[in-house]
């Protein structure tokens, strides 16, 4: 069964460094999402992406964040200058159609900013 994959599974970085989190969505899906979950807190929506552009973003998704679909298969989340509070589990998800459609989540990347 197709699944969403994410790499790396864990990333440790120094504060101020740039990180790129990678996701490979399910191949025939058109909608892509990033979420994060800070330890012990709820899952938070970051951004959705459709037709090669951001369709919605939350207040968390500020200028330090960017997303890209560089090659038609990968979907990346870049954090330009990481802060301690960016430490979280980051989940990618994809869906065939719109927001009401079932979203399939990847296993997540655990980011630790020191």
């Amino acid at each position: 069964e197709p699944e969403v994959t994410q790499t790396p599974s864990h990333q440790v970085t120094q504060m101020g460094q740039e990180v790129i989190l990678r996701c490979v969505p399910i191949s025939n899906h058109l909608y892509f999402y990033w979420y994060r979950q800070i330890l012990g807190q709820k899952v938070e929506f970051l951004v959705s992406f459709y037709n090669n552009e951001i369709s919605e973003k939350s207040e968390i998704f500020d200028d330090q964040f960017s997303v890209e679909r560089p090659d038609g298969s990968n979907f990346t989340l870049k954090i330009r200058s990481t802060k301690l509070e960016d430490s979280a589990m980051y989940f990618c998800a994809s869906a065939k159609r719109g927001v009401e459609e079932t979203q399939y989540f990847g296993p997540g990347t655990r980011l630790l900013v020191l």
């Binding site: 969403v4 709820k42 899952v43 929506f45 369709s55 919605e56 296993p107």
Partner: protein, 114 residues
């Protein structure tokens, strides 16, 4: 106010009995509600959804009930199985001005006892 609340952080149920997970919300403008299940070290898995124009949706062992006047959502799992032990998140979608907001609850940890 766009809060989605799951007031019970945990719930224990005997195998074979009914599990009832609750979710309250404050925004009457939410259009769609979803339930996700999450195992440790995995991404959330979509379970079931309901449109705000309905009051019940059923899928196998899972039934979601929506009480709009009480702004209350519940997920019933019957019969509960040990494999259902996980954290359950409710989420709400709010469409506004052609875009949408996606809000998660804090989660309820369900433990099904064999």
């Amino acid at each position: 106010d766009q809060q989605v609340k799951q007031n019970s952080p945990s719930l224990s149920v005997q195998e074979g009995r009914i599990s009832i997970l609750n979710c309250d919300y404050t925004n009457s403008m939410f259009d769609y509600f979803l339930w996700y299940k999450k195992y440790p070290a995995e991404g959330p898995t979509f379970l079931i959804s309901i449109s705000s124009i309905k009051d019940k949706n059923e899928d196998g062992r899972f039934t979601v009930f929506l009480n709009k006047s009480a702004k209350h959502l519940s997920l019933h799992i019957v019969p509960s199985q040990p494999g259902d032990s996980a954290v359950y998140f409710c989420a709400a979608i709010w469409r506004t001005s052609g875009t949408y907001k996606y809000i998660f609850g804090t989660g309820t940890r369900l433990k099904v006892l064999a």
